[in-house]
């Protein structure tokens, strides 16, 4: 009886090792980090776990910096970052999974077609408050910002604002969808959303002559662009590798493109 049990245990242990990379947490993958990556990672993990019921993927938020830190300390298998690695962080292994463009949108009736990054900054800082100053019919500019903590806002601040703070007079909406909704209704407004979510009710302006199309985002000509990265301390293996491979597989990339991102491949 005892021998039988022991045999079973050994068998189970052996099986565990075979499918994982060894270690007790082989079946669980923990991802922490960027709130921009989070919804996409959740979507991917859902489908991945459906295909691999033996692996559990936990996705947590916390922000890019927290994710990078978690990966550095080994608290998470993978850190998710929607910004580039800085200084000592570059020792980590980075796995780019997708591009995301940030489109600056206005009402379709607005004759504006092009803005420079500097002009966008001036609008959101509150230095340009009237469309007249851009050579358009005189109307107050209604700038629409995202809420504090949003990953899209974090990227926008990083790419456009630099050290400057967005004017407190800017309106705030808490999702890409509601920014788009307000811009679609207000002829004097300007906002920014993820490029994949632009539809025909709003108009994306060109940034220094370049439209936020998937091609322009992929070949780096569109300026308001960021990479979504997964980072890890050591080479990914086991369940972790299976998940990363899934994200980079044609199916994973297709899922990301369907959700509005631009694939890395």
């Amino acid at each position: 009886m005892v021998v039988c049990l022991l045999g079973l245990l050994i068998l189970a242990g052996g099986l565990g090792c075979k499918s994982g990379s060894g270690g007790s947490a082989a079946h669980a993958v923990c991802i922490a980090g960027s709130t921009s990556v989070q919804p996409f990672a959740e979507k991917l993990s859902e489908i991945f776990m459906h295909q691999h019921p033996e692996i559990r993927v936990d996705v947590q938020g916390g922000g890019s910096s927290a994710g990078i830190q978690a990966a550095t300390q080994g608290a998470a298998n993978l850190g998710a970052s929607s910004r580039e690695l800085l200084g000592p962080e570059k020792q980590l292994i980075e796995i780019p999974i997708a591009y995301d463009g940030i489109a600056v949108i206005v009402h379709p009736s607005n004759p504006l077609t092009d803005l420079s990054v500097e002009q966008i900054r001036q609008i959101f800082v509150g230095e340009l408050t009237n469309w007249r100053e851009l050579g358009l019919p005189p109307r107050e500019i209604d700038a629409i910002n995202r809420e504090e903590g949003s990953g899209t806002r974090e990227a926008f601040e990083h790419l456009v604002m630099g050290q400057a703070e967005v004017s407190p007079a800017a309106m705030v909406q808490d999702s890409n969808g509601s920014v788009r909704e307000i811009v679609a209704g207000d002829p004097n407004s300007i906002g920014y959303i993820s490029a994949g979510l632009v539809d025909d009710r709003v108009k994306a302006v060109t940034i220094e002559g370049i439209l936020p199309t998937p091609e322009n985002i992929k070949n780096h000509t569109y300026k308001l662009r960021r990479r979504f990265l997964l980072v890890s301390r050591e080479a990914v293996a086991g369940s972790c590798k299976a998940f990363v491979d899934f994200i980079l597989s044609p199916q994973g990339q297709q899922i990301l493109e369907k959700e509005g991102l631009v694939g890395i491949k």
Partner: protein, 279 residues
């Protein structure tokens, strides 16, 4: 008899559980929020308008002012409408009309706030933008939507207060030769005043606490408002807008916002209790 005692115990325990959950919520809000107030300093927290929690600025003055202004605006719109509606229904309308109208008004209270907000965005906001200027999402829009949302509260409590005035008062006044309007104005309204004030204060509590509809129509800008057409952010919207991604000090800042809201609503409810008790 023993069964009666048993049921009494059970009911007592149930009552206790609802009160203790309230106490727990209160304690939790204070534990989560108080460290931030200590960290930022009460003065910086309450007297500054610079809110940038991820950069270490935690001033909520503009939000307190906006919350109070939006509520005041809702009162200016909702109280005269609600009170006149209640007076007509309680004093001047035939019984049958009242039987139809009162449940209809109470149905208004059952409409989810997101529906009010949606109506506001689709219908009211473009009206304000086209005819009055500004972005449309504004203090005014929030005040109008809230003014409509508090009508059921004000009307039904006021009708009950007016209905509680004994008919003897009305008969006496009419017998002295007063007209029906004079009777309502000089006799019934003063007699029902504490109930009506309670109605107004409860309506005010609803307006201060409303979140969803306000987020949708108020624009949520952090600036101190200088006109009714300016977009504003209230205390409740601040919590709901930023809760999704908040961590660490930022999260504490939102709970601290909750403490301020809690204190404001406590003051309102206490004054409602005091007013009714004085009767």
């Amino acid at each position: 008899m023993q069964q009666g005692k048993f049921i009494e115990r059970v009911l007592f325990l149930l009552a206790l559980s609802s009160i203790s959950s309230l106490a727990l919520i209160t304690i939790f809000i204070f534990i989560e929020g108080a460290p931030l107030i200590y960290f930022a300093g009460l003065k910086n927290f309450l007297a500054s308008s610079h809110w940038a929690p991820t950069k270490g600025h935690f001033g909520i003055l503009a939000m307190i002012v906006s919350s109070l202004l939006v509520t005041l605006g809702a009162m200016v719109i909702g109280v005269p409408l609600g009170l006149s509606c209640a007076i007509v229904l309680a004093e001047f309308s035939p019984r049958r009309l009242k039987l139809i109208l009162k449940p209809t008004l109470e149905l208004l209270a059952g409409i989810p706030s997101v529906v009010y907000g949606f109506l506001g965005v689709v219908w009211l906001v473009p009206l304000i933008r086209n005819y009055l200027g500004g972005p449309g999402l504004s203090l005014l829009a929030a005040a109008i939507i809230l003014g409509i949302m508090i009508l059921p509260t004000i009307i039904s409590i006021s009708i009950d207060a007016l209905g509680a005035v004994p008919d003897l008062y009305r008969d006496g006044s009419l017998a002295l030769g007063a007209t029906q309007w004079q009777t309502v104005r000089r006799v019934v309204l003063p007699a029902a005043s504490s109930g009506i004030i309670t109605a107004v204060i409860l309506g005010m509590g609803r307006a201060v606490g409303e979140t969803m509809a306000v987020i949708m129509v108020a624009g949520n800008a952090l600036k101190m408002p200088t006109s009714v057409l300016d977009p504003v952010r209230t205390l409740t919207s601040n919590i709901a807008l930023e809760l999704g991604y908040a961590a660490g000090r930022h999260r504490e800042g939102l709970f601290a916002t909750g403490i301020v809201l809690f204190v404001i609503i406590m003051i309102l409810n206490l004054s409602a209790t005091l007013v009714t008790r004085r009767r």
